[in-house]
């Protein structure tokens, strides 16, 4: 009864013999063979709890629930006996009488599983009447801005509870009360919004009855598969369209990056697309005021002024929000048409140390692992990443690893959400990561926990590195980090003894004057323990923006062409000169900070600023604003007016991600399709079209691609990592680079056999501890660190146009430890003034132990309180990233 080749087993379902997978349940086996067994509490992603009792069938004569009963070879399954029918009917009737929509011919029959089942079983109204319908009406909970909970139609299947617990890992809700009063919530009679719920909506999409349902729900006429525009997780989405409006978003189950899951921004944050604030026409500054203009007027003006500022007077700031194809065009325009390498983008402000550091140690600056593999790690070291807030879908993998018994070490100055799940939480001083990580490595070497075989076979410079560990003794490490050495030793052992181990990090590592050293410390640690080149291991910089990986890959950087090919390499230069038919320059261009600095103290006269808002996002933002104001000619291309357009000479209205074709590359190097779902709103245009139009007006060739697909073909021909990528191949599922040729399947994890360095070896780096550029003193006694809120994105130009997100978080909050707050006589909700050497900002205080004593924390999402006015532009000498994670401030009540 077992088929040897397929390993399937034979069972009988209602008299017919079928072959089924031995690992399936009776319910799965029956459904697979077209035999419908009613079920309400079953969800393929969740462990069965068998509570609805609808799926009862007879197995070898015993009444059992099909959803948790495994098939056994030879089992006789009957779904059609009188006992089965009577049982089902009984349970459905009991549910229906207590269900407010509860009639058999309910209008929600299409979306409500209970109604469907009732109709299928031909429930008889008169039988229901005998029970006399329930008379209690409970209040609908409308406290969450995106969805509501109607207990009157809930069947208590518990799918929402299990989803939040097993998949999201938040456990915000549970069954509350008991007996007939049982309901769903965080506590008896509590409001949904007051729970730990992070509004991801995962429970809502799984609810079988619509008891949990989106508040604004329009049924889309059609759906288009695309990629989320928010963060680097790069989730696959179905964009729902109705009358040229985006009305819904749904996760793509088949997409390995997210497997159908989304966070609150991805699922509910799409209203900005159709916001009335969208820029719909070009604007030109006349007599100091931005006035509407035609495209011809705007393009002519831009082409004329750009033509007058070729060479080192010009700079572009590309954008991690644009597609690969568009970023490619911007850098090509800058290099080939404007004759300069002055092109950079916001990766400078977030992950330039990852690129600079990991290229030196591993030969490639990207995340080594795949998102999904993180869930199979036996140990995760999360350092300088507030994963649940900034990379929520990666955080789901952390939860998955934990559920499988994986260890979690969290290193963060703030007591972030993940700290509550960690086996070990280390709260170090901001900026002390090198000392901490090197301290760990010293323990690993001292205790012989390192992987000598791997080091010998695959690495170089181990000896110098090992010698540099000597200085990281207990006294130094404890002094710099403020952490007891015993804890650091525990972390070292936990990481070294549980392999494969994945390191996750984000801007807590990079945004420092020693950001590159921090990154090198993480790669040292991975090399030392042989945690590279295997699944579920590696060093994984979690990239911030939807296409920040792609913008880097496309050469939106001053020193490299697409594919990290150096501008100062003559062979590379020749290759691009041949391809583009122009003469190119071998001097690397200016970086982000240098471009803005170059306005006042350098050659910069014209800036082409695309999809970015440095007036809020740049460290020491007052200086950035000054530069934007002062530059001779500023073109800003965006979908909204921003703080930066206030200084623009020309504003060009761009299309949003939902209005164009192309690709994004997510944090796990997966190149995925972005698709046009609706026409560009008003007279806005795709960014790629705009850049090409400017080039064409300047009379050059090489910008007449008919489609994004054609641009991708050009990219593939010049970029080794993208060599095998075409739109055709990534129609359904994206490919992970490197993908050098059309038959290559893509790369799940990097460095399996060799490191892409000249000698193929991973390199160790000896590291010196260096303090942050600015440390607290008598005048500015506190450290300010910056963070992100789950509910907002970057300078919040998009998210603050989503009313629900604005409701969940509407203002800047200065997080301060109760001890400091008390000393300053500050209570939660008080307005406080935060002052640094560069400026001051007022906002309300949130007194919380999340921030350690001596450290305050702010986001940078709110223009009313522009945090970056305070931050320090001192930068890392290698990566030139400003130190936005540490500066010295003073906090006082703002009367």
């Amino acid at each position: 009864m077992i088929d040897i080749t397929t390993r399937k087993v034979e069972v009988s379902i209602d008299g017919s013999t079928v072959l089924v997978d031995p690992s399936s349940t009776v319910l799965e086996a029956a459904l697979e063979h077209g035999v419908f067994i009613p079920h309400l509490c079953h969800d393929p992603d969740l462990k069965p709890t068998g509570v609805c009792r609808l799926c009862m069938v007879e197995v070898d004569g015993r009444l059992l629930t099909a959803c948790n009963t495994p098939v056994v070879a030879g089992a006789l399954i009957r779904t059609d006996t009188d006992a089965v029918k009577e049982t089902r009917l009984g349970a459905v009737e009991l549910l229906l009488v207590n269900h407010h929509r509860g009639t058999v011919d309910c209008a929600e029959g299409e979306t409500c599983e209970l109604a469907k089942i009732a109709r299928l079983l031909e429930v008889d109204e008169t039988r229901l009447k005998r029970l006399r319908r329930s008379d209690q009406t409970l209040d609908v909970d409308t406290s969450n801005p995106f969805f509501h909970f109607d207990p009157n139609i809930c069947v208590l299947c518990g799918i929402c509870v299990r989803t939040c617990d097993e998949i999201v890992g938040v456990g915000a809700i549970d069954f509350v009360k008991r007996g007939i009063y049982t309901t769903i919530g965080s506590a008896p009679d509590a409001q949904w919004i007051d729970s730990d719920c992070v509004s991801c909506g995962e429970c809502v999409v799984r609810c079988p009855t619509g008891s949990l349902a989106p508040t604004h729900h329009e049924v889309p006429e059609r759906e288009v598969i695309s990629t989320c525009t928010y963060c680097g997780c790069g989730c696959g989405i179905h964009l729902g369209v109705r009358d040229d409006r985006i009305v819904s978003v749904r996760g793509v189950r088949e997409n390995p990056a997210n497997e159908g899951r989304l966070c609150v921004k991805g699922r509910f944050g799409f209203e900005f697309v159709n916001s009335p604030d969208r820029l719909t026409t070009p604007l030109i500054r006349r007599q100091g005021k931005l006035e509407e203009a035609t495209w011809d007027e705007a393009l002519d003006l831009v082409a004329e002024r750009f033509s007058a500022n070729r060479g080192e007077a010009f700079a572009s700031i590309a954008s991690a929000k644009l597609t690969n194809e568009e970023n490619y065009l911007i850098q090509k325009f800058t290099r080939a048409v404007m004759g300069t390498n002055n092109v950079d983008h916001c990766a400078r402000l977030c992950h330039s140390p990852s690129v600079a550091g990991l290229v030196q140690s591993f030969g490639s600056g990207a995340m080594t692992s795949s998102t999904k593999d993180i869930g199979d790690a036996r140990c995760i070291l999360a350092v300088g990443t507030n994963t649940t807030a900034a990379h929520p879908i990666v955080a789901l993998q952390v939860m998955r690893s934990l559920r499988q018994g994986g260890k979690l070490i969290v290193i963060n100055p703030r007591e972030i959400e993940l700290a509550h799940y960690a086996d070990l939480f280390i709260q170090n001083r901001p900026g002390s990561d090198v000392a901490l990580l090197m301290g760990m490595m010293r323990v690993i070497v001292d205790e012989g926990l390192h992987d000598l075989e791997f080091i010998e076979a695959r690495c170089e410079d181990y000896e110098v590195f090992r010698e540099s560990l000597a200085q990281y003794d207990e006294a130094l490490v404890e002094e710099k980090t403020g952490v007891p050495f015993a804890q650091i030793a525990r972390a070292a052992r936990m990481y070294a003894e549980n392999s494969p181990a994945s390191i996750l990090y984000a801007m807590g590592i990079t945004q420092h004057t020693h950001g590159t050293d921090n990154v090198l410390a993480t790669s040292n640690l991975a090399l030392l323990t042989g945690n590279v080149g295997r699944a579920s291991s590696g060093v994984n910089p979690l990239r911030g923006q939807s296409n920040v990986q792609g913008a880097c890959d496309m050469g939106g950087l001053p020193n490299v062409y697409p594919g990290y090919q150096r501008v100062d390499d003559p062979k590379v230069q020749a290759k691009f000169e041949r391809a583009w038919g122009v003469e190119l320059h071998s001097t690397p261009g200016l970086t982000h900070l240098e471009i803005l600095g170059g306005v006042t103290a350098g050659p910069i006269k014209a800036i082409y600023l695309v999809g970015e808002n440095p007036a809020l996002s740049e460290a020491d933002a007052s200086h950035a604003r000054e530069a934007l104001e002062k530059v001779d000619f500023l073109v800003v291309q965006d979908i909204f007016l921003t703080e930066s357009t206030e200084h623009a000479d020309v504003v060009l209205p761009a299309a949003s991600f939902a209005e164009k074709d192309g690709t994004f590359t997510n944090t796990e190097r997966r190149v995925q399709r972005v698709r046009k779902a609706i026409e560009p709103v008003g007279d806005s245009r795709e960014d790629g079209w705009i850049t090409s139009a400017i080039a064409k007006r300047m009379g050059v060739e090489g910008f007449d691609h008919e489609s994004a697909e054609e641009v991708m073909n050009e990219i593939a021909s010049l970029t080794p990592q993208y060599g095998g990528i075409t739109h055709d191949r990534i129609e359904d599922i994206g490919l992970q680079w490197p993908c050098p040729d059309p038959s290559h399947p893509g790369t799940r994890y990097l460095h399996a056999e060799r490191f892409p360095r000249p000698n193929g070896r991973g390199r160790f780096f000896p590291l010196q501890y260096r303090p942050p550029a600015e440390e607290p003193d008598a005048e500015f006694p506190l450290v300010l660190t910056t963070e992100r809120s789950l509910y907002h994105y970057h300078t919040a130009t998009m998210t603050r146009r989503v009313p629900g997100l604005e409701k969940l978080r509407s203002e800047e909050l200065v997080e301060i430890h109760p001890r400091d707050a008390e000393a300053l006589s500050i209570a939660s909700g008080d307005r406080v003034r935060v002052t640094s050497r560069r400026g001051e900002v007022t906002a309300r205080a949130l007194v919380t132990e999340v921030s350690p004593p001596g450290t305050v924390s702010m986001t940078f999402h709110f223009h009313e309180a522009p945090t970056n006015v305070l931050t320090n532009a001192a930068y890392d000498p290698v990566a030139k990233i400003p130190e936005t994670k540490v500066c010295a401030v003073r906090v006082e009540p703002a009367s």
Binding site: P48, T49, G50, V51, C52, R53, L54, M56, L63, T65, N68, E86, T87, G90, A91, L94, L95, V97, N98, R130, L131, V155, L156, G158, D174, F175, K177, R178, G179, I180, Y181, T182
Partner: protein
């Protein structure tokens, strides 16, 4: 089984209760003077874990928590080479109405309970004992905690017990106050800090119990029998009480002794220990003093509230697992509740139905909704608003609930009230809305 000379009372036995009434019986000093932990030492030094399990199987000891599952068989289900820790969980939730036998054991002989747990732990290689004690029993918790402290100090509990390689600790957990937390998997959830929602089985606790680890769950009284069985051998235990039915190869009989109680409308409620064999009537009349003066017994639930009722004329049945099943009732916790002729059976039903509807954890559809409907219908009838159709509806509902749920609470909700409805149907009919003859 004890032969009772005519005219004499069925005798009490003192095995579990041998230390009840001894001054300071709960202290280690007194307990050890009276033999405590000698049997643990015997098991550790003279027996292998498998030998202990064999003796348990031979004893035919059946679980005293209500379901009567053979204890030795249950222990045998624990995987032998588990890579996870194994736990013993002592079910001391005792929340069945009218039942208070486990409390006597915990308060008067906590070292006996501990010793039983420890021998069980040795038999299944468990490294920890959890004792889940009903929250309303602070006295029991205090006695157990004191016993644990003393036992640890004396090295009969903790690391390398009595100098052997066997180590095991013990943690007392105070219960969450819900009836369903006494159900073994509801208890496990509650122990793990979650809501006490029973789990579907399989997996059974012996394979995947507390925190995902193999766990043996036994009632306090069950475990308290273990030292005696180790001392005297399984056969000596099996020789007591009611033997298996020779005509039924599956019959396990009711071996050994049992704490039995009586509460409700009797002269002297209490708890006594007997060898199995005493009848319900002897228990109630000879030990609990019979009904109050001038009253007659109307109905008896032999074990807690979860079993079908017996009428006065049915009380000559023995208090035994199989005997009571044959009488269409059940032993349950063996703590009988007596109702006399002052009781209105419809009201009694409403009270019982309310208890179960209120205690339903609410996860299974038939239990959550069904228990509610049962209560509602009884309330309707009591209020004089019930109809004949309501009685039919009840009869229709019972089989929809019984055997259709995750745990046995729903059955317990059906059994007593259904038997009352059958046996006292006239009392229900008398309360129905009167439909004039000829009206349609």
């Amino acid at each position: 089984m004890t032969d009772k000379p005519p005219g004499t009372k069925y005798p009490e036995t003192k095995i579990l209760s041998r230390n009840f009434g001894v001054p300071e019986s709960w202290t280690l000093k007194v307990a050890r003077e009276r033999g405590a932990y000698a049997n643990l030492e015997k098991a550790l030094r003279e027996m292998t874990p498998d030998q202990v399990i064999d003796e348990m199987k031979k004893s035919r000891l059946r679980g005293r928590g209500g379901a009567g599952f053979p204890t030795g068989v249950k222990w045998g289900f624990v995987p032998k080479d588990s890579d996870k820790p194994v736990y013993i969980c002592c079910n001391a939730d005792e929340s069945e109405p009218g039942t208070f036998k486990d409390r006597y054991l915990m308060e008067l002989d906590p070292h006996l309970v501990l010793e039983g747990c420890l021998i069980a732990a040795y038999a299944v290689s468990a490294e920890r004992i959890w004792i889940y004690v009903r929250g309303e029993y602070p006295g029991s918790i205090a006695r157990l905690e004191q016993a644990i402290e003393e036992a640890t100090a004396a090295n009969v509990l903790g690391d390398k017990i009595l100098g052997t390689d066997f180590s095991c600790d013990c943690v007392v957990h105070s219960g969450a106050g819900a009836y369903v937390c006494g159900e073994e998997t509801g208890l496990l959830e509650s122990l793990e800090g979650k809501r006490g929602h029973p789990r579907i089985k399989p997996p059974f606790p012996a394979v995947e119990g507390a925190f995902g680890c193999p766990t043996v769950i036994n009632n306090v009284e069950t475990l308290s029998h273990v030292p005696w069985i180790v001392e005297h051998g399984g056969q000596a235990f099996a020789d007591q009480g009611i033997g298996p039915d020779p005509d039924d190869p599956k019959s396990m009989g009711s071996s050994g002794t049992k704490l039995m109680g009586v509460s409700g409308q009797v002269k002297h409620p209490g708890v006594w220990e007997f060898e199995f064999g005493i009848t319900v009537r002897e228990l109630i009349y000879d030990y609990a003093g019979g009904p109050l003066d001038g009253r007659k017994i109307k109905a008896v639930i032999p074990g807690g509230v979860s079993m079908p009722v017996l009428l006065d004329e049915e009380l000559d049945v023995k208090m035994g697992f199989d005997d009571l099943v044959k009488a269409e009732s059940g032993l349950g916790t063996a703590c009988a509740i007596v109702m006399d002729d002052s009781v209105d059976m419809v009201e009694a039903c409403e009270n019982i139905a309310h208890f179960f509807a209120d205690e339903s954890c609410g996860q299974c559809t038939p239990c959550r909704e069904g228990c509610h409907w049962i209560e509602k219908i009884f309330r309707r009838i009591n209020a004089g608003e019930g109809t004949e159709a309501d009685l039919d509806l009840l009869e229709h509902l019972f089989p929809q609930i019984e055997g259709r749920t995750i745990c046995a609470l729903a059955e317990a909700a059906v059994w007593p009230v259904r038997s009352i409805l059958v046996k006292f149907r006239h009392e229900f009919e008398a309360k129905l809305v009167k439909t004039p003859v000829g009206a349609s």
